[in-house]
């Protein structure tokens, strides 16, 4: 064994108990599931190490089986090297053996012998490929080919300890995410972890942190942080794989608990896909449930993690195409309960008769990505910075600056709220005064941080109203629709009073003037035809006669019903 300092010894002991043992436990249970053994009640639920989440073991197993090859690697032999604080000496080494993608064992590797010195030479030269080949040669008789090599600095464990300490001090989910962000920033700034070859997710994290794509300072946000999840509603996501179903329950009152009752979970397995979301919502008592077929989701996630960041325009077109293809396959690849009124047939067919032929299964997924990506380049430019100012009344809650380059998001950063606070404090009520404050804020940010192309201010209560309307049940049924009107009136009033202000807004004002001049119905009915594929009309034959007769019959029937009702 190598001589360690006291702090290094403490970290190694901590890592053994808090990182190694829990993960070994997960692997052992996974092995049991692979063999088809029945799990004990203690083994049915697992706390995911270094996170506030708890999940069902079986669900976690299936999810890992599908997602691990996409995000990380196909399970294979992994050689783990732990370096000292200076990153030069190997202080620990482990070999994780895998057979047929299943965990077999985790062995401690003795550091005596020449292999350590030579490996340190490769590490110092920063040459991962020869190191991997060399380790394969050294340990071939023990485990075969070494497919992956992980090199971690012992200081990595200190950072992980800080995350766990943050969890134990009862911080919320947002605090946990901030701690993870800060930890990753430190790890990548110092190069405390490396993988060879680099798995997709780590390559993306490298892109984010090495290119400074996120610049966040907790001091830039106002003390009352924005909480995105409603406190009272439960959501369920059901994922149907080839031979399994996984259900994840999101309850804002207990955000770490993703488990679903085993009874419910077993029943969901037997329900056909089209009825899955409804069944999940009913059985779990959730406000909303969404069922997804896992294969297209995995396909989409692969596209997201395998492409370097920031995404170029071609990458965005491919990703959007896959996303829209998923959306297009409503009821075949995804369902939702309760389903929005716009997707219901009894609304869609009359709308079609009125000249609004929208059908989600006819979504032009072959065309829309280009429109979105190239159209936004033409309309917004290829390099622009947007400042999002979130207000609560006249108090600035957060300022987020988004930088776009070549259509992709290049950077997200925060701006000190205290700098803008005086500008909005003195604003009176009304759209114009908020607009003036937004213009001044835009110029102030220009002075301190660089030119802002668009400044957008949004009131927090507008966001809450929109969220409760969209996630509520009022837009899911014709009978409940009238109850949504007061919400809509409130939202429009908020907008008129400056709920959302965009500057420069001359293009929007010109567009609004033109829409009024042309007629809103004509414009919206024209716009609604764009995202959907239309069939080529024939220009000869009896087609139009037939369509005219059908339309006349339908209208005649409707007129007849109305007259009869009026007569009685």
């Amino acid at each position: 064994m190598v001589e360690l300092s006291k702090s290094e010894e403490e970290l190694i002991n901590w890592a053994r108990t808090q990182v190694k043992e829990p993960w070994l436990g997960i692997f052992r249970v996974a092995e049991k599931i692979t063999r088809g053994s029945i799990l004990t009640p203690e083994e049915s639920e697992v706390a995911i190490p270094l996170s506030p989440f708890r999940a069902d073991y079986r669900q976690l197993y299936f999810l890992f089986r599908e997602l691990l090859p996409v995000f990380v690697f196909q399970p294979a032999n992994l050689f783990i090297i732990v370096l000292d604080s200076e990153g030069k000496r190997i202080i620990r080494a482990y070999l994780q053996e895998t057979r047929y993608s299943n965990f077999v064992s985790l062995k401690n590797i003795e550091l005596s012998g020449q292999w350590g010195e030579k490996a340190e030479g490769f590490i110092a030269a920063d040459d991962p490929r020869p190191l991997r080949d060399y380790l394969s040669d050294c340990f071939r008789d023990q485990a075969g080919e070494i497919n992956w090599v992980m090199i971690a600095n012992i200081r990595l464990f200190k950072v992980l300890k800080e995350i766990l300490d943050g969890l134990e001090s009862n911080g919320g989910l947002s605090d946990y995410l901030v701690n993870v962000y800060l930890a990753l920033k430190k790890i990548y700034a110092n190069g405390w972890i490396s993988f060879s070859p680099t798995p997709n997710i780590l390559a993306r994290l490298e892109d984010i942190f090495r290119k400074d794509m996120i610049e966040y300072r907790s001091s830039d946000l106002f003390p009352q942080s924005y909480e995105p999840v409603s406190k009272s509603d439960i959501f369920v996501i059901v994922l149907r794989g080839r031979d399994f179903t996984v259900a994840l329950r999101l309850d804002p009152r207990d955000p770490g608990n993703l488990t679903v009752d085993k009874e419910v979970y077993d029943r969901l397995d037997r329900i056909p896909f089209r009825k899955l979301a409804k069944a999940a919502a009913r059985k779990t008592g959730a406000k909303m449930a969404i069922a997804l077929s896992l294969d297209p989701v995995v396909n989409l996630l692969y596209e997201l993690v395998s492409r370097p960041l920031p995404y170029g325009s071609d990458d965005q077109i491919t990703i959007l195409r896959k996303l829209l293809s998923l959306i297009k396959n409503f009821k075949r690849q995804w369902t939702i309960c309760p389903s929005p009124i716009a997707l219901k047939n009894y609304v869609r067919l009359p709308a079609r008769l009125l000249g609004l032929p929208y059908d989600i299964t006819n979504l032009a997924d072959w065309f829309l990505p280009q429109v979105i990506v190239q159209g936004s380049g033409i309309a917004l430019g290829q390099h622009f910075r947007t400042a999002l100012i979130i207000l609560e009344g006249t108090s600035v809650q957060a300022v987020i600056i988004l930088e776009h380059y070549d259509g992709g998001l290049r950077k997200v950063k925060t701006f000190p709220v205290s700098e803008l606070h005086p500008l909005f404090e003195r604003t009176g009520p009304g759209y114009r005064s908020i607009r003036e404050a937004v213009i001044k804020a835009k110029h102030l940010i220009w002075e301190k941080d660089g030119w802002i192309s668009f400044a957008v201010s949004i009131q927090k209560n507008l966001l809450s109203e929109l969220r409760s309307l969209l996630l509520g049940k009022k837009l899911t049924s014709l009978f409940r629709l009238p109850f949504a009107f007061p919400d809509l009136v409130r939202i429009f009033k908020l907008l008129r009073k400056g709920g959302m202000v965009v500057y420069p807004d001359i293009s929007l004002r010109e567009a609004n003037k033109w829409v009024k001049k042309r007629g809103r119905f004509w414009v919206y009915s024209s716009l609604i035809q764009i995202p959907f594929t239309r069939k080529r009309p024939r220009t000869r034959g009896l087609l139009y006669v037939k369509s005219t007769i059908i339309a006349a019959v339908i209208l005649g029937v409707i007129a007849g019903i109305i007259l009869r009702l009026a007569a009685t």
Binding site: Q370, V371, Q382, P504, S526, R536
Partner: protein
């Protein structure tokens, strides 16, 4: 040979830093801007969206700071970017007006101010023009272009940026690009430079555009600013950084060099600051001909088309609408665009867009015009063909025609119908300008045009479009000669070419 002109390149993390480095290499802006001077900056604000389409505001801020440090009394920013569009809308749309006023710059919208007449008989085609009074009164005026490729001129830099100092009436003149008729788009830009030369050229190459410039290309980030007091030399160095040869490929610098207005010979330019070799990169050129590389859904049938007129505007149409056209093609079939004099007939007699006066009147007898004007179901008929009149169809007039064609079937494009445009009858790219003096009656007198359409179509295109000497007319498509390869006539030979329909107060050459 002794080095004659100096051009400085500044490199840095932001534009203001780059400008400072470039001017410190040149010896400071104080060599040109003296205490008490009034300085005018002329950027390229051709649209409301940001870089790399328009000059970044940090360039203006950086120059403003330098000028103030040099003791300038007033710094103004002015432009008249796009023919038919108010300059005010561009500045406000980009958010520049309030921002510039806040730092202390005065914003001048040239189209709202007075003009000063200038006459220079040595010019090739644009012998007289109007320039803004603000430029005439300024002690120093600095052109601040942004580095972009261009469909008609290969690049749009300092020389091309000067086009924005003219009023719309002068902009419309000599834009068609018929050298044999004594009119040339490229010569015109050099004429403007010869008449009103800026004191400094500071090119924003922090972000640049390659591909389908000047509006639809791809962004690059060289992080450079190039400055010089010789506009031509400055453009030459920028083109060198873009991988373009200024004497053989780029027409504007070639013509300006040949005329002796500036230096486009790299061997005679001293580059200060950064080295060109460290930053050179081959930019993708803009596609030139509309009938080549047309996107899916569009078939362009071009006859003899003016390269600075219908060809350039048609290229804009393709670049703007190509996304929508692909959808329309898949759903309804391709759209055929006829442009130029005597284009090939379309294979189908439906969804034909006839672009420009030459195409309208030379295809009057084509078969598609005998088909019903409306096709499709009774509740949403679509025109079988649509004419877009004009010589050439100006600005967004082509969108209106296109929208008419696709009404009811192509909502994406027909939404453009309501945009404000300048009517094709009022501003023609022919040499004649105002309505009363425009001899091309077919532009504004529809009855006359209808009455004599067959006679016009039966004969050659009106002979008064071209020079009196028909033997030098040439046919670009027949000979396969590209405009960029054509020899440029030297000033001493200009007198041999009779400019027809030239609107000139002095020569009185207008025909009523």
């Amino acid at each position: 040979m002794t080095k004659k002109e100096k051009v400085a390149i500044g490199y840095g993390n932001d534009r203001i830093e780059c400008i400072r480095r470039a001017f410190s290499a040149l010896g400071g802006i104080g060599r040109w801007v003296k205490p008490g001077h009034r300085v005018l900056l002329k950027p390229n604000i051709m649209s409301a969206i940001g870089t790399p389409t328009i000059t970044h505001i940090d360039m203006l801020k950086g120059l403003y700071l330098l000028c103030r440090e040099a003791g300038a009394k007033e710094v103004m920013v002015g432009d008249n970017p796009v023919c038919g569009m108010p300059a005010r809308k561009h500045f406000e749309g980009a958010g520049y007006t309030r921002a510039l006023e806040q730092i202390g710059c005065k914003v001048v919208h040239f189209d709202e101010e007075d003009w000063v007449y200038r006459y220079r008989p040595e010019n090739f085609c644009l012998k007289d023009m109007h320039i803004p009074k603000a430029i005439a009164d300024a002690d120093v005026w600095i052109t601040v272009p942004i580095a972009k490729t261009h469909e008609a001129c290969v690049t749009t830099l300092g020389i091309k940026n000067n086009h924005g100092i003219l009023p719309d009436e002068d902009k419309a003149r000599h834009h068609r690009g018929r050298t044999e008729a004594g009119t040339s788009l490229w010569e015109k830009f050099v004429d403007i430079l010869a008449t009103c030369k800026p004191h400094l050229c500071v090119t924003d190459m922090f972000h640049a555009m390659e591909g389908q410039g000047p509006a639809f290309g791809k962004i690059l980030e060289p992080r450079l600013v190039v400055a010089s007091d010789d506009v031509v030399a400055c453009d030459t160095v920028v083109q060198e950084l873009m991988g373009i040869d200024s004497l053989t490929e780029a027409p504007l610098t070639r013509i300006a060099h040949q005329r002796g207005i500036g230096l486009a010979d790299m061997s005679r330019i001293e580059v200060l600051g950064e080295r060109v070799d460290n930053h050179r990169r081959k930019f993708i050129r803009a596609k030139w001909y509309p009938e080549v590389d047309t996107p899916e859904g569009l078939v362009v049938l071009a006859g003899d088309v003016c390269h600075g007129g219908c060809q350039m505007i048609l290229r804009y149409l393709i670049d703007t609408c190509h996304i929508a056209l692909g959808k329309e093609a898949r759903e309804f079939g391709p759209t055929y665009i006829l442009c130029g004099d005597r284009p090939p007939p379309p294979p189908e007699d439906r969804f034909v867009l006839v672009f420009g006066d030459c195409a309208i009147y030379s295809t009057w007898h084509y078969r598609y015009r005998r088909k019903p004007r409306k096709i499709g179901p009774w509740w949403s008929p679509r025109p079988g063909y649509a004419d877009v009149p004009g010589c050439c169809p100006v600005q967004l007039g082509w969108l209106r025609g296109f929208a008419n064609l696709l009404r009811g079937y192509a909502p994406l494009v027909s939404l453009f119908d309501g945009l404000e445009i300048v009517e094709a009858e009022r501003y023609s790219f022919a040499e004649g300008v105002p309505l009363e003096k425009n001899p091309r009656r077919w532009n504004w007198d529809k009855e006359w045009a209808r009455k004599y359409a067959r006679e016009i179509a039966a004969s050659r295109p009106p002979s008064y479009i071209y020079a009196a000497n028909e033997s030098i007319k040439g046919n670009r498509l027949k000979d396969g000669v590209r405009p960029v390869d054509m020899d440029v006539a030297y000033p001493r030979e200009y007198s041999r070419i009779q400019t027809v329909e030239s609107y000139s107060l002095i020569s009185g050459n207008s025909k009523d």
